[in-house]
Amino acid sequence: MFRNRREGLALALPAAIFSTLLFLVPVAILLSEAFRSDTGFSLQGYVDFFASPLNRSVFLRTLKLGVLVAGSAAIIGYAAAFCIVNLPGKARGTVFGMVVLPLMISPVARTYAWIVILGRTGIVNDAIVGLGLSASPIRLLFTETAVFLGLLQLFLPLMIISLVSAMENIPRDVIPAARVLGASWLNVFFKVILPLTKEGLVIGGTLVFTGALTAYITPAILGGSKVLMLETLLYQKVNVSNDFVSASVIAMILIAMSFAANLVLKRIATARS
């Protein structure tokens, strides 16, 4: 496309300078706090962080919810994406638009909607009490379940979009061919669909997992201080304790978890194929 490499580099230069000066350098300075001590380079911040039982439980909860949200989004996302790509043209556009629509609404508004749904006077509790399943409203808000539902609703569209893009590239005849040759739907999924959509799964999984790890508004509103996650703990460290070292350690852990998730997903996809 370009006559020489210089033209390509020249076009990329403004974005590279912008990203380096206004993103990478400040982030590197901030994150370097996580390795700094009075005596120079140190990993003491990490030792101190994981020595705290609270921090360990917050780390494990964040990991657990991230995996659950990404896994659930993949299962629901595959089913939804398979339906969408097999819809006729106009209906496909309409349904795909409905999937994308929540992304155009503020996460704050979407999260507050869950308060209306899950609150003591919300529709779920009204139904539970109305059906006689419980004499009084049950506690749904400020639980891990509430945070899980909020995060899944928040990030599911990203998984569906990634999987729809991947599935659209599957040759039309391969699934009917597999079925004609006697493969069960389970075999079709694991031996045909999954290998051919692994890139979409890796992208979608990374986006959803990373999003669930780094979301602040949803865990803060639906979980409060009783369901702390790393992001809400990070906010507390900065805004309550003024503890920038711990905050930097948490930021590094979140980055490492995101990279690890990407690597693991790639490995899983490669192994399957």
Partner: protein, 338 residues
């Protein structure tokens, strides 16, 4: 000749304006009620001093961090913060002692506001009571101990220990449980009831929302938030527990070596004056620390007002909070939050 005089007059006026702009006072305050403060305090003071008042707002942690970061060349001249935060700044040698002789309204203050953290490092400008707000149609509250009782299980919120209200609540629960002055057993007791507590809130606005959504029917809160509950269509009441009300005070401090001490004293004195304290009280923004302030019964019932109320408050010494906060937070995180 006439035009020459006009030019001279305009020049003089411009000169005065330039001089006024040269005098700038930078203050660091809480974010709330800034429109009211502008009307009652900032604008009138600018007119009196012929100076500019630059207002910096934010939460306490951010504002204290800014004072500390600029200690060598202060960018803030005076700040208003809690007593414990003032003591923290004093121990870091970031604020200067105040000279009561430079505050003409000093003698009008309640005694506890005159030197709340010792060594005249701060002066109180407002008090707040802290008690329990509750749904009067659903429950009766007679004691701080009711917060951990069976009747409120699953319907009560407590303030987080990291905020201003947290230690006050633990102190009053300690009184209800006859735990003495050591708060560690009280935190353990809260931990034993952690499943019965809906959440541990950080901001009073958060609590207002939770109570209006009927997620919570009782919680301790500062009197400054009472106005938000009173406006609600739900029947909220302010408890008068048998152990009494907790209380606290916000104070003014002067940053060390800011070079603008005279203007800062003038501003602090104006804020403590009967005129300004009355105006701010009538706007239901701050409860007065100036004992000469007189407000109507209607206003008074929304404030922490009057010698009887103020003298009856259970105020936790700032030093006790600063000395024990780290241990309380550690224990809280281990036994309550986890």
């Amino acid at each position: 000749m006439k035009s020459t005089l006009s030019i001279l007059a305009v020049s003089c006026a411009m000169g005065s304006a330039a001089m006024a702009a040269d005098r700038t006072l930078t203050i660091s305050v809480y974010s709330f009620a800034q429109d009211e403060y502008k009307e009652a305090l900032y604008d009138p003071f600018e007119a009196i001093c012929g100076c500019d008042v630059v207002v910096e707002t934010g939460n306490s942690v951010e504002r204290m961090a800014k004072i500390e970061a600029n200690a060598a060349d202060p960018v803030i001249d005076m700040a208003v913060i809690s007593t414990q935060d003032a003591l923290t700044l004093a121990r870091k040698d970031l604020i200067a002692p105040l000279d009561p002789a430079k505050l003409t309204n000093f003698d009008k203050l309640y005694d506890t506001a005159k030197d709340p953290i010792g060594d005249h490092m701060a002066v109180g400008y407002t008090y707040y009571a802290s008690s329990i707000v509750y749904r009067s149609d659903l429950v009766e509250i007679d004691s701080w101990g009711d917060l951990l009782g069976e009747e409120l299980a699953g319907q009560v919120a407590l303030p987080n220990i990291t905020g201003t209200q947290g230690p006050l609540t633990v102190m009053m629960l300690g009184k209800a449980l006859d735990a003495g002055t050591d708060l560690a057993p009280v935190i353990t007791e809260i931990g034993a009831h952690a499943d019965d507590i809906v959440t541990f809130y950080s901001r009073s606005s958060e609590l207002v929302q939770l109570m209006n959504q009927e997620e919570v029917i009782a919680a301790p809160v500062g009197r400054f938030a009472w106005g938000s509950f009173e406006k609600s269509s739900l029947p909220f009441a302010w408890a008068t527990p048998k152990e009494g009300q907790a209380g606290g005070m916000n104070v003014m401090v002067m940053t060390k070596n800011n070079g603008n001490e005279d203007l800062a004293y003038q501003f602090m004195d104006y804020w403590l004056s009967t005129e300004v304290q009355t105006k701010v009280a009538q706007m239901l923004v701050d409860s007065p620390a100036n004992k000469d302030v007189v407000v109507s019964d209607e206003i008074a019932k929304n404030l922490t007002y009057g010698a009887d109320v103020i003298n009856a408050l259970n105020i936790m010494p700032a030093a006790e909070i600063v000395d024990n906060r780290a241990a309380w937070v550690e224990q809280w995180n281990t036994e309550v939050i986890q």
